[in-house]
């Protein structure tokens, strides 16, 4: 990297600073802030980093395609919510949750920490936030808090969730093949993601009713985090691919039994909790819909079963993976020598194993089941379609331009300049910043896997150049990415779109930054002390 200078580093930072300033200070939505960031990234990409018109067009087109892929998950996730909402399926779900436990906070933990983690273990790709945030709204949580809780609750599962795609990307990109080093990296990845998991459980309680809620839920939180974090630490050494799925499924069963313990089944409702919207009339004393819990959860059961069957049965997955839609892109190079190799099939949609397909199928099955049983009345389909367009059309520009901005930044070498510049400036203190580099990756790309692809090799090189333990540096990379996933405007967008509060991104970011940044800093301190001592 011979194009790293203080000037270049600062210029590369400006699009991110602009984005954050507009979101947090000016209270703009991502839809409004992303074009400003993209405009600056395009101008600096052309003038300072030597990107040609063709290169910038290619990177924008790649970003827009990635954005279309994200929207192909968001839109069917909204559809599931709208179908369930139209059929009034949230009434029996609320009633069912009350049968599970009368403790309101335990209900929130069950959905916003345990179930969201289960979905992360199975599907990922934004589905957990897109599905669980509206579910939380359905049980009376304020939309902004629903997004914050779902984001915080699912983040720990990012590395080993979705059958460990992010972990595999880290191992592949960093080129580690020594079993001992892989095992050590898995250990550290689990340490950092466990920190995130434990903090998520505590944070959700804290959001609900401060220290009092933390105290009252201390035992369930400890049990769940031991299963989540501790279980993942053990299973990651045996089978990383299934580690997150196994422990998040196990926890889903265990929380059911926790809800049966008399101490946690007592009615506990904090009337003035900031998390809850008490203005919404919720009658959870009886199921007035006549639908029954079994029918109400049909779309979610279909989603889980279909995903599991397709992803776990290898021959079936292989057979369905034949149909792909993707585009080829030519190779490009900046005037400063940053190369983007040609891609034969860029980010293809594997039509029948795509998360969006599973969501769409679940929504359609839900619709027909509800319709057949008379829960969706005349005009229902029209109302669902109007609401779907209302929520998804305006957010499309936000998602597409945000990802285009990140692609322009990475394609013109700006992201690399940011990472290398930071590393060069810190030297042996680099350990402190290793998780922040992971965070930068997932902040820019909204994906733990993409962050590991972007920086896996870089982190390995830094560990070798600075003679630091590669296991902890790579663990911090993926741990920081998982924590940074919470801060990613793209992921926040998923939540605000599906809960219908587009424009509230800044408000949500402020809250999740307060949870995530201290944890990334703590992880950095752990890495720093470990690398200085050992």
């Amino acid at each position: 990297m011979d194009n790293v200078s203080v000037f270049n580093w600062f210029i590369a930072l400006i699009p991110i600073l602009l984005l954050l300033y507009l979101l947090l200070k000016s209270k703009w939505g991502v839809a409004q802030a992303a074009p400003v960031g993209l405009a600056f990234a395009l101008v600096s990409g052309m003038t300072i980093f030597g990107g040609s018109w063709e290169l910038l067009s290619t990177e924008v087109a790649k970003g827009l395609w990635n954005g279309i892929l994200v929207m192909s998950v968001v839109a069917p996730a909204i559809l599931i919510y709208e179908v369930a909402h139209e059929a009034k399926a949230f009434d029996p779900i609320r009633y069912g949750l009350r049968l599970f436990s009368k403790n309101e906070l335990l209900q929130i933990l069950a959905l916003g920490w345990v179930f969201v983690s289960f979905l992360q273990g199975v599907t990922g790709f934004g589905v957990p936030v897109a599905v669980c945030a509206p579910l939380l709204v359905g049980i009376g949580v304020r939309p902004t808090w629903a997004v914050i809780i779902a984001l915080t609750g699912h983040a720990w599962g990012n590395t080993f969730g979705t059958l460990a795609v992010a972990w595999s990307a880290l191992v592949f990109q960093s080129g580690i093949n020594d079993p001992e080093l892989i095992s050590q990296t898995a250990f550290w990845a689990c340490v950092f993601t466990w920190i995130m998991d434990f903090a998520a459980g505590l944070a959700i309680c804290w959001f609900y009713n401060g220290l009092q809620a933390v105290r009252s839920m201390a035992i369930p939180v400890l049990v769940i985090t031991l299963l989540h974090g501790g279980g993942q630490m053990i299973f990651a050494q045996i089978n990383p691919t299934l580690a997150n799925f196994v422990v998040s499924s196990l926890t889903l069963v265990v929380i059911f039994f926790i809800g049966r313990i008399p101490a946690f089944n007592k009615s506990m409702v904090v009337e003035d909790s900031q998390v809850m919207d008490r203005t919404v009339m919720i009658d959870d004393q009886k199921d007035v819909s006549g639908m029954g819990l079994g029918q109400a959860v049909v779309p979610y059961v279909v989603l889980t079963v279909v995903t599991l069957v397709v992803l776990m049965i290898a021959p079936l997955k292989e057979m369905l993976s034949v149909w792909k839609i993707g585009f080829s892109f030519p190779g490009t190079e900046t005037a400063l020598g940053f190369v983007n190799p040609p891609v034969e099939l860029y980010s293809p949609i594997v039509v029948f194993t795509h998360a969006g397909t599973f969501l769409l199928l679940s929504a359609l099955v839900g619709y027909f089941v509800f319709k057949r049983n008379g829960h969706i009345t005349a005009g229902g389909a029209k109302r669902i379609t109007v609401n779907l367009i209302d929520k998804s059309a305006p957010s499309t520009v936000a998602v597409l331009l945000l990802i285009a901005m990140s692609k322009v930044m990475s394609g013109t070498g700006q992201v690399e300049v940011l990472a290398y510049g930071t590393a060069l400036a810190t030297g042996s203190m680099y350990g402190l910043l290793a998780p922040f580099v992971g965070m930068l990756g997932s902040f820019m790309t909204s994906s733990n896997m993409a962050s590991n692809i972007l920086f896996g090799k870089f982190q390995m090189s830094m560990a070798e150049i600075l003679s630091l333990n590669p296991g902890i540096i790579l663990g911090a990379q993926t741990g920081g990415s998982a924590m940074g996933n919470v801060l990613s405007p793209g992921n926040v967008l998923l939540g605000v779109t599906t809960t219908g509060i587009l424009g509230a991104e800044g408000e949500i970011l402020k809250k999740v930054i307060a949870v995530s940044l201290p944890l990334i800093f703590l992880s950095g301190l752990i890495v720093l002390f470990y690398t200085l001592i050992f």
């Binding site: 409004q32 290619t58 030519p330 059309a393 520009v397 597409l400 331009l401």
Partner: protein, 62 residues
Amino acid sequence: MTTWMKSEFGQLTTASVFCLLSFLFLYAGIRGYGKFYLGIGSLCLVGSMVLPIISAFKKKDH
């Protein structure tokens, strides 16, 4: 039409459509159909960037 374009929903939805058009034209341009398509794609992209910024300033005025 005027009312539609004055609303935030209308502006963002139109910008979303511009975004999708921009992808199609840019890709055609990249794949060698000529600079004309790159130009149209870039114009669509500019349109998709300008409309949300206008909506932000309008919201601020209100």
